[in-house]
Symmetry: C2
């Protein structure tokens, strides 16, 4: 990564507010000394923390505001009343080119609504999507949408496939990332009309990924594809189910290993191996919902995250900004849009269906 | 369980066909000697297996047929061409009251289509749903629909809530099972219109369960509710994602414990504890997709299951049949239908939306 990157931080978002944000910034800075921060929030709460992390203080500007968005505020209300909130000011900094990207652990709906209004969508993108990285048997998979759009038509799914592919190629370095549409079976006949139409379009157009077909829920953790594309409702449920199952097994394993002295001794001896597994599955290392499709980089940290998690969200935001993600997406989308076959294809299919 | 129960078995369904079905029947019979079997399929393949399991032979009638439904046959084709298939004949046996229930490991779509055509839906039920039990931190949860209905309106979701509640009460013995609608957040404002309308209806009507609100993906493995209600697309993806994550962690744990001699020794000492965890999460013990809402008991065994899994599918089918599940559901549905508030409520909501 070359050159200085400035990250706008919403210090008041998330359950822990500045207590996760400032130590998180310190961790991120220790890994990448070229980062600079604009910290938006209550100066009285931020200052004492900066005293503990002088490196962050040196790399930061504080922009004080008394206002912040609460976790239960509705997006529309946040848009109306949150003009001076730490979240909104942090997004503004990206729009005004003072910062390269913004990271917030606050209210997802409000963050998305504000980011969309202030930063706008990239040309050709109907709606942005939330994407995250997931651990798998193979290399990490990026999945989108994770909750920004409850219902998605075929064009949105196609756009998500492009967004995910550009991300996978530009940021993860996968030359021709494989892309799958999440469905309830791998046969062509499965699923509803929009997903079938998206499959047809994806198999005909040229885009930075390689469409390999439908994938099922169990294919996600197996790492069958680099990019899993789905609507926001299904994606959100699948992601949270995966997190829940992971926690369930972890808890049951712990309980199981405390059942007998022999098991406890075994667990003690295997501690290194068990810890390395725990780290590999640690949700903090996969923290950071990337809002893809906006004309600006915005990353959502999970509200319950500590500084390790927040530092990872900063890292993802910095990667997106450094690799010119938005410029690449805009170019790819423009490229696909000129492939008029896509649009002809869709109208042909619709006509066929209607007749 | 009192009295003899006759189970119609499709011996030709599933990847292993009779090699899983007959040993599975033997296992189920050893647990419940009052079972009797009608075995449908290729007698030449079934006979040699029965020689190995004389107890099953004594408890069984073989009905020979050369025809069977393949895994990739489309439901419509199976309906047209499969009239003499082992699957169809096994379902017919339930319709003709020769058997109390049917179990098949074959093509899910074909099984559902045939079962619906032959057995019909219970009065008041629009569409049957596929339900399964899942392991959780607490007691087992029943989740439906798992793939029979890709898109569900509010009335279908309400019916699934009733079906799941009656199952949980009648078969699992939970006096007033708690019911949650799967959504992307727990706040009232979340989700699409059909799910919000289902929530309003469920919180107003009397039914055998207790509606507790929206649940999220991570609430499923936590065992937050006894019954998780969702559409077939989301349910199918969530279930398979859970299975995949469980397998991923199991595989990573195994790999991790082989990394060093110390870890291997630890794993050896903790073997009992690790095995008990493995058994608790073993998908074979949760095998059996129950087709709820049909006027007859039909259970789908996962196609890849061995005899242990198939025996569990038989057990679930026998429980449903023994506890008069269908009669109970019919009574509950009739009860809810007389609560005219429900229908008035929905039309009032629709009017409000339209105005």
């Amino acid at each position: 990564m070359s050159g200085v990157l400035t990250i706008a931080l919403d210090a008041m978002g998330g359950d822990k507010g500045p207590d996760a944000v400032i130590p998180g910034a310190a961790l991120a800075l220790s890994e990448n000394p070229s980062l600079r921060f604009m910290i938006f929030g209550d100066e009285q709460k931020i200052r004492p923390l900066l005293d503990k992390f002088p490196a962050v203080e040196q790399a930061s500007t504080i922009i004080h505001t008394d206002h912040f968005i609460t976790a239960d505020e509705k997006p529309a209300a946040a848009l109306r009343n949150g003009r001076n909130s730490s979240m909104r000011l942090a997004i503004n900094a990206v729009a005004e080119k003072q910062a390269d990207c913004v990271v917030s652990g606050g209210n997802t709906g409000a963050l998305m609504a504000m980011a969309k209004m202030v930063l706008k969508c990239l040309p050709g993108i109907e709606r942005p999507a939330i994407a995250s990285l997931l651990p798998t048997m193979g290399r990490e998979t990026v999945m989108l949408d994770l909750g920004a759009n409850l219902e998605c038509d075929s064009e949105m799914l196609v756009q998500f496939a492009i967004l995910g592919s550009v991300y996978s190629r530009a940021v993860r370095g996968h030359e021709q990332p494989t892309v799958g549409l999440l469905n309830i079976g791998s046969e062509d006949m499965k699923g509803h009309d929009e997903i079938k139409m998206a499959a047809t379009i994806l198999s005909q157009i040229k885009f930075p990924g390689k469409y390999v077909g439908f994938v099922e829920g169990n294919d996600i953790p197996m790492g069958k594809v680099d990019v899993v594309v789905t609507d926001g409702f299904t994606g959100n449920v699948a992601l949270k189910t995966a997190e829940g199952v992971s926690k369930l097994i972890g808890d049951m394993l712990k309980k199981s290993l405390k059942k007998s002295p022999l098991a406890m001794l075994g667990a003690f001896l295997a501690k290194g191996a068990l810890m390395s597994l725990k780290n590999e599955m640690d949700p903090r290392y996969y923290n950071g919902g990337m809002f893809l499709g906006l004309n600006g980089v915005c990353v959502k940290s999970h509200g319950g995250m500590d500084e390790v998690g927040f530092a990872n969200a900063i890292k993802y935001a910095a990667q997106l900004a450094a690799r010119n993600f938005n410029v690449r997406v805009a170019a790819e989308i423009a490229e696909v849009m000129t492939q008029e076959e896509q649009l002809n294809l869709k109208s042909a299919m619709l006509q066929e269906k209607a007749s």
